[in-house]
């Protein structure tokens, strides 16, 4: 997800904060995981993983990622695909605007004056 804020750039990153987190087991699929790793903003992911305290074993930069390291890949799988914020906020890093998350669903609706 990126910030839909009108003033923010095309790829304005979103930070995260959570008051309720859950973990939902998902079947490990190496090809899909590699595909997703290629599409996310690694810095945002690493920061989110740190905030949610699941960053152990996850490199801070994508360069340090070793796709052949199964343990590392499984930790990334867990943080990226299994850990969900149930209640919390996504935060636009450019404007500070918070997008609330409830029941695991982020509310990205912009108000009339934000369009």
């Amino acid at each position: 997800l990126v910030s839909p804020m009108a003033g923010a750039s095309d790829s304005a990153a979103l930070g995260i904060e959570a008051t309720e987190v859950e973990s939902k087991e998902r079947e490990y699929d190496a090809d899909f995981l590699k595909k997703m790793i290629g599409r996310i903003d690694w810095a945002s992911f690493a920061a989110a993983a740190k905030t949610l305290e699941v960053s152990e074993g996850i490199p801070a930069t994508r360069d340090a990622l070793d796709e052949g390291d199964d343990t590392m890949m499984r930790k990334i799988h867990h943080a990226l695909l299994e850990v969900n914020v149930v209640t919390g906020n996504l935060i636009c890093t450019e404007t500070g605007r918070k997008f609330p998350i409830q029941l695991g669903i982020p509310n990205m609706l912009l108000n009339q004056d934000e369009l």
């Binding site: 997800l1 095309d10 996310i40």
Partner: protein, 229 residues
């Protein structure tokens, strides 16, 4: 002058978007009813499977966007066919029905007319079942359907990978609307066009916007698929 009696069935009765904005129409009990009505489920499932067929995905394990994912019906079809997905919808109640029912895809509450809030090149493809006609209404005095359609298609183009396809099933109200939506998609860079299944049957006729976001590197050029009937 004596008043005439109202028509037995006005066109508004059969077009939900004339009654209320989607987040109101699909709220509360209506959301639950929609999700459990077996005829509705059957129709939506058939449409979803056809849309997936039209997507002609090159491999398993694609990552798709489901626009107007609502109660998660179409998403379930995506999961059944071996792909991953993220869904978005404007109705909080419909999304909650989906999440409570347990769906594989992540759900996002948003208004597609405000843009799809995803990183460029996120998705291999997109499907949408019975959703985009809602973009053609002006829900507030400030909302401009032309602008919203443009924002939607521009952001959709951007969040697809190069060569990705979008298949959007919808119910055009009239030929003008058909032209407006199709030409807006083309203006935003998409190739492809409108495909009509069963064009000679009023009852069975179904409209799909089949769109291509550029060409895959080294991939086969796109060709419009065959319509049914």
């Amino acid at each position: 002058r004596t008043p005439t009696s109202p028509p037995a069935q006005s066109s508004s009765m059969s077009r939900p978007e004339h009654l209320a904005p989607p987040e109101i129409f699909y709220s509360g009990d209506e959301a639950k009813k929609y999700a459990t009505n077996s005829r509705m489920r059957e129709i939506q499932t058939t449409l979803s499977e056809r849309a997936l067929q039209l997507l002609a995905l090159p491999e398993q394990g694609s990552f798709l966007l489901d626009v107007g994912a609502g109660s998660g019906l179409s998403g379930e079809c995506i999961t059944e066919s071996g792909h991953y997905w993220t869904g978005c919808d404007i109705s909080k109640d419909m999304l909650e029905v989906a999440v409570e029912g347990g769906v594989e895809g992540d759900m996002v509450l948003n208004d597609m007319g405000q843009g799809l809030p995803f990183r460029p090149g996120s998705f291999d493809g997109c499907i949408s079942i019975s959703a985009i006609q809602w973009l053609c209404n002006a829900e507030t005095s400030q909302a401009n359907p032309y602008k919203r359609l443009g924002i939607f298609f521009t952001s959709l183009y951007r969040c697809l990978t190069r060569g990705g396809r979008a298949v959007l099933q919808w119910y055009p109200e009239n030929p003008q609307q058909m032209e407006l939506v199709t030409s807006t998609a083309m203006r935003c860079g998409f190739g492809g066009g409108l495909l009509v299944d069963y064009p000679h049957s009023t009852r069975a006729k179904k409209y799909f916007l089949v769109l291509y976001a550029g060409q895959r590197e080294g991939g086969k050029p796109h060709a419009m698929p065959q319509a049914l009937g």
